[in-house]
Amino acid sequence: MIGVGWLRSRAQTAAAAFVIAVVVVIAAATGPDLVQLYRAAVAGCASRGNCKAVMTTFATQDGSLRLWLGVLVVIAPAIIGMFWGAPLVASELEDGTFRLAWTQSVTRTRWLAVRLGVAGLASMAAAGLLSLVVTWWAGPLDQAGLSRFATFDQRDIVPIGYAAFAFVLGVAVGATVRRTLPAMGVTLVAFVAARMAVTYWVRPRVLSPLVLIRPVNVAGYGSGGFLPIPVAGPSLQLQPPNLPNAWITSTGIVDQSGRGLPPAELARLCPSLGQRRPGHGFGHTQAPASAVRSLQECGARLGALYHEAVSYQPASRYWPLQWCELAIFLATALILGGLAIWRVRRIS
């Protein structure tokens, strides 16, 4: 029965094996060099004492390959869900082969349970292997970059959860929609929606963030937006806190009782804020001395009454959050698996 699952998903298994093989070859060809370069950079900067600058530069090495490997890890689960999960039941219904499959000496429940198990584990293995290779390859760059949370969903164990979820989601959608192509589309949309909901809404709330209180440290100010027309009103640019590998979820200026800074108060304390400099244009230009002075005065006035509150997840919470997100997606996959079996049992 387990072999049957393999027989029916040979094409997908072969495609997955091919992609992983290509990534392994790329990683094997360039990875060891990257490790060597990193070791040399670390050894070199330690003696010269310019490690911060050296590491910042090192982290931008192989930028496009790093980006594309990351993208591959992110989209692999969606592809698994669309091309492996969605057709599993839907194509049997569409081609009429369910009449062959479900009249053998195996109940539908067991048929689907085994196929979900085999192909589900294979999906997890494929995504896990891909993530393992990419995580290893990008290891030196990630260590130099000091922002592990920026690549949270491209590394380590969470892609395994995404793949399991996407696969079972595809099966459940296929068993409900009963046609392959629409099922693939619905699977993609639902998967992207679920990933975004978890990334932007669940992940920041799984563990309540730590709050760092520190004096106001104004780096500059500007208007939020690329255009000369201010789209979000004038705002202060604060000096980023020195929290390596932490995930900063929000920063704000608050008073002693924790209330935020009202815009009217900001305008009173920093009258020069939002004023356009003559000759304003695109690109960086040296600010005139008067502007720098008024910024410093603004910072001093603010600092007397207010301080900065930084909400963040420290680097030490990277792995707890990885495990939490894996558990969330695996649990959802189990629930969807039950749903898929229930749908298939009801098909009549």
Binding site: M1, R8, D95, W102, Q104
Partner: protein
Amino acid sequence: MRVRRERTLSEVAIGAGHPTAGASPPVALAASGLGKRYRRRWALSDCTLTIPAGRVVGLVGPNGAGKTTLLHLAVGLLAPTSGSISVFGARPAAGPQQLRRVGFVAQDAPVYRSLPVAAHLRMTAALNPGWDGELASRRITRLGLDPRMRAGRLSGGQRAQLALTLAIAKRPDLLILDEPVAGLDPLARAEFLESVYELAAEQATTVVLSSHLVADLERVCDYLILLVASRVRLAGQIDTLLASHHRLSAPSAGPVRPMPHSEVIAAAHSGARTTLLVRADDPVLEPGWTRDAVRLDDLVVAYMSQAAGARAADGRAAGATGVIGSRMPR
């Protein structure tokens, strides 16, 4: 070529649920008040029938009579909306044991187009504990199928033979074939029916074969069930059915009742002659009438016409006094 078996049944059951004298024969399939509705449309409604075990049963009926729905209910692909159906006394597809007893070849013989023939055999072997691998490979060899060939590249006849092999090698007690020869050319059709015939002769398998071509069924079946609009119109052993129906003809001025204790199934008047198809166990001919044997397809057409006429008469309300077939037996 028709299968000749020991006759354990001698009665002709018209309709279903007729009480039979003596010990009732073993039953392969029994349905009672069976109905299946898709949204608002009833594909089968209030169907009651019995299929005896150990026979090769032809299930005939016009398109839309509910044959495929009935067979899908019998293999458990569908669940009934109303009524009940049992196969060897148990609910279809109730568990692995029940699934094992029933082999099924669905309409158009579905196979996995991208999988080779050999993979189909391996897969079905893994899914069926009672798999007869020797029988399967013997049949594949004899049919001349290339095990490496993808099923999608087989001809219609080869695909049907592959599907039949998969169903037979499971060694089922009941083999259900839904329109297996529809769409096959005459040679492929003859070869397929030959396979079914051999199987029925070698093994004690009950076979149910649906078709709307009576001539095909007559070659292999020894029992016939006519289903029209979910209702059994005619059921019984084929030779008994043929023996108890007669084609009579006489000049049009002849007597109205040609035989005592007979039922007129169809009547036609062409020129100066009247031709009747009657059912009577013990025919006694009145003078002036000549009698001929009936053919099975004529019999089926007559009963189908009768059913159509009855429905039309129901639609027109009371008024029709008899049931006259629109088409005359030859």
